[in-house]
Amino acid sequence: MTLTDALARPRPRDAGHASPMSLWRLLWLELRRNAMPWMFPLLAALFVFDAFRSAMGYGPFWDLRASALENKLLPDFVAFVAGVAAWMGSRDSRRRTRDLVDATARPRWTAQLTTWAATTLWVAAGFLCCVAVLYGVTASQATWGGPPWWPVAVCLAELALMSALGFAVGTFFPSRFTAPLAAVGAFLLSLEGFRNAVGRSSAYALLSPTTYVPDDDTGLFHHYLPDVSIAQLMFLIGLTMVALAILGLRRAADAGPQLRRAAAVIAVAGLAAAGTAIGLIGTARTQAYGTVIPALHDAANDRPIPYTPVCSQAAGVPVCVHPAYRNFLPDVTAALAPVLREIASLPGAPARVDQVVVNDLIPSNGAAITGVPPVFRLPMPATPDETSFGQNAVSFTSYLQATLVTVFVVGAHGFVTLGPVGGTPAQQAVVLALLQKARTATQTGSGPGNGSHTKADQVAAAARRFAALPATTRHAWLAAHLATLRAGDITLAQLP
C-alpha cells in the first residue's frame, strides 16, 4: 500500500486509554533511545580507576569495601546522571517537539515521567553493574559476612534524586548549556556544597550519603546501624518526589484533575518525608559502634555479632582473630611472636591474644591486657591488602608489636597510635629495648614522642644499654622490677 493506493480503513470509534501496556511500551521506547548508555564507557573507566581501585585498597571486609560506593562511585555517577537527565528533560524544547507532544492526549507529565524513569533505570542498571563487580570480587576474597545493601539503596536513592533534579532543571531551563551546568552543579552539590551549606560538623551533613562512613569493624563485631541510612532514604526519596511533582504541577492545566491531585499529594508526601528525615537526623548521636537515631534505632542491632574466632598456636600462646581476618592470621602471629617470646613468663605476660573491636573513642583503640590469666586484647586496623599485610607489612608489624609492648609495659594509656609516646622515660626506654630485641626497631613512631632532644637521646641510650644486656639478665631484671616500672617509680638512671 502506498500513498496512491491507500485504502479506507475502519475508523476507531473507541477512545484509547492509558493502559499499563501502553505505558510499558512508551518506557521501552525511551529506554531504547535514552542518552544514558552513551555515558557507560566513561563511567566504567571511572569505576575501574577510582571506586574499584579505592575499594581494593581495603582488605576483603564487606562494609569497608562498600564504603567506596558512597564515597567514590556515587560522586562519579552523580555528575553524569544530572547532566544526562537535564539533557533528556530539555529534549522536547531542544528538538522543537513541544507542539507535537502537547497536541497528544497523554498528559505531558506522564510522558515526562517515562523519560525520567528510563534515564533513572539506566543509571540504576549501570550503578548496580559496578556494585555487582565490586561485591563479586569481594565475595571471592572475603572469609566472613555478606554484602551490605543499605549503602546500595541509599546510593540508588541519591541517583534518583539527582536524575529528578537534573530532569527538572532541563525542563525549566532548556538549552544546550543546561546539561553541562547541571552536571557540574550536581557534582559540587553532592560532594561539597551540601556539607558546606549545613556545616561540616553538623548532624544535618549526615543527610548527604557521601558524608557518612561506617567504622572499620562494622559488620564484623557489631551490626551495620541502618539508622542514618533510613533517614537518608527518607530525605532523598522525599526530595525526589517533590522534584517530580513540581513537573506535574507546573503544567497543571494540561494534567487534568486526577493527575493534579496526584502531583499535589506526591509533593506534600515528599515534603513530609524530607522534613521528617531532617528532624530525625537532628537527633542523631555518635556511639561507639556507629551513629544512632533514637526514633529509628533497633536495639537488636546493638547486640554483638556472634562468631567463632580462628586461632593459631605458632607464637607459643593462642593468637585468635575474627574469622574475617582468617587469611591474616599467619601475619599477625608472625608479628607478635618475637615480642611474646621476649616477655614470656614475666608478670602479666599474655597467655592469649584475642582480637577485639576497634573503639575509636578511647586512645588505645581498645588495646589492653586484662583478665586472669592475662589476655592481650588487640584491635586490628583495617588491613589494606587482600590476604596478607602485603606491602604494608612493615608498618602493620610495627603497629602490632608496639601495641603489645606498650600495653604490657606502660598500660593502655601509653598507647596512642603507632608506638609508645606515653609513659615515663624509663618505661619508654624499656619499650624501645624490647622492640629492638624483637628486631623491630620501628622506623615510624617508635621513638619517644615527647620531651626534649636531650631527654630523647637519654632514653635512646638507655634503651640501647638495656637491649644490650644478656637476655637472662634483662629478663631477670624485668621479672624483679616490672611492677615498679609500671608504677612509674623507676628512673632512667636506675635501668641497668
Partner: protein, 247 residues
C-alpha cells in the same frame, strides 16, 4: 460540523495574530491560504489545542477544548503536523510514529498495525527502520505526516505539509489528502495554491489575522478573472482577493 469557530482571537503582546476568525468545517479537505504572517499557523495551533485563544469560541469534534476532559478526547482524535517539525534524531521511523501513537493513547494492541499502515501511507516502508537523523528533509516531512495520521484522526491539521516534498511525492500526497478527507476534516495550511486546487473541497484565505475569503477553489479562481498577477487561474484569484483585502 467538526470545526466550529466564532470570533476567535489570539494576541502575542501588542501583535494580534488572529483577529476574530469565524469558521465552520465538516468532513473534507479545507485549504487555508494566506501570505506570511497572516495568522494561519496561530489558527492551526489553537485548533490543535496547544495554543489557548485570547478570546472567542471554538468547538472541535463537538467538544469545547477549554476544559481538560473534552480537550483530551479531542486530542485522541486529532492529527497535527506543525510547520516546523521537531523530531528525535536517534529514533527510527517506526519508533517515532509508535511513540506518538502511544502519546495519542491509542490502545496498545492496535498500535503496531496502525504504525505500519501510517508508514505505508506516507510511502516510507523502505525507510521504516532508518534513524531519523539519516533522512532527508522531504522524508522527515513524510514522517511527520505518518505520525499525524497514525491514529486515523477525525480532525487532521497540516501546516505546510508539502514543504520539502518532491513533485512526485506532492502528487501522491494530494491523493492521500483526498482519501483522508472522505471521512475526516483535514485542514491544510499552505502557501502553494496548486495544492489547494488539486486536493481541497473548500478554501479560506487569511490576511492580517482575518479570513478575507471563504469558498470553493472554483470560486477563488473566479475571483481572479481579469486580474493580471499570477501564472495560474487560482493564483490570480488568490492575488485578487488579497489585493482587495489590503485596499
Amino acid at each position: 460540523m467538526n470545526v466550529e469557530i466564532a470570533g476567535l482571537t489570539r494576541r502575542f503582546g501588542r501583535n494580534q495574530a488572529v483577529a476574530g476568525v469565524d469558521l465552520e468545517a465538516g468532513p473534507g479537505v479545507f485549504g487555508l491560504l494566506g501570505p506570511n504572517g497572516a495568522g494561519k499557523t496561530s489558527l492551526l495551533r489553537m485548533m490543535a489545542t496547544v495554543l489557548p485563544p485570547s478570546s472567542g469560541k471554538m468547538r472541535l469534534l463537538g467538544r469545547e477544548p477549554g476544559s481538560y476532559g473534552p480537550r483530551r478526547e479531542i486530542r485522541r482524535r486529532l492529527g497535527y503536523l506543525p510547520q516546523n517539525l521537531g523530531y528525535y534524531p536517534s529514533f527510527t521511523v517506526v519508533e517515532f510514529v509508535e511513540y506518538f501513537a502511544l502519546l495519542k493513547e491509542m490502545p496498545a494492541a492496535r498500535v503496531p498495525a496502525a504504525v505500519a499502515a501510517a508508514i505505508e501511507r506516507a510511502d516510507l516502508g523502505d525507510k521504516a527502520r532508518a534513524k531519523l537523523r539519516t533522512l532527508s528533509g522531504g522524508m522527515l516531512r513524510r514522517v511527520g505526516i505518518a505520525q499525524a495520521i497514525v491514529n486515523d484522526p477525525e480532525l487532521l491539521l497540516l501546516d505546510e505539509p508539502t514543504a520539502g516534498l518532491d513533485p512526485e511525492q506532492r502528487v501522491a500526497f494530494r491523493a492521500l489528502l483526498r482519501n483522508l478527507g472522505e471521512r475526516a476534516t483535514v485542514v491544510v495550511s499552505t502557501h502553494l495554491v496548486e495544492d489547494v486546487g488539486a486536493a481541497c473541497t473548500e478554501v479560506a484565505l487569511m490576511n492580517a489575522g482575518k479570513i478575507v475569503f471563504r469558498g470553493t477553489p472554483e470560486q477563488l479562481t473566479a475571483k481572479g478573472e481579469g486580474h493580471g498577477v499570477g501564472d495560474a487561474p487560482l493564483e490570480r484569484g488568490y492575488s485578487a482577493v488579497l489585493t482587495e483585502a489590503r485596499s
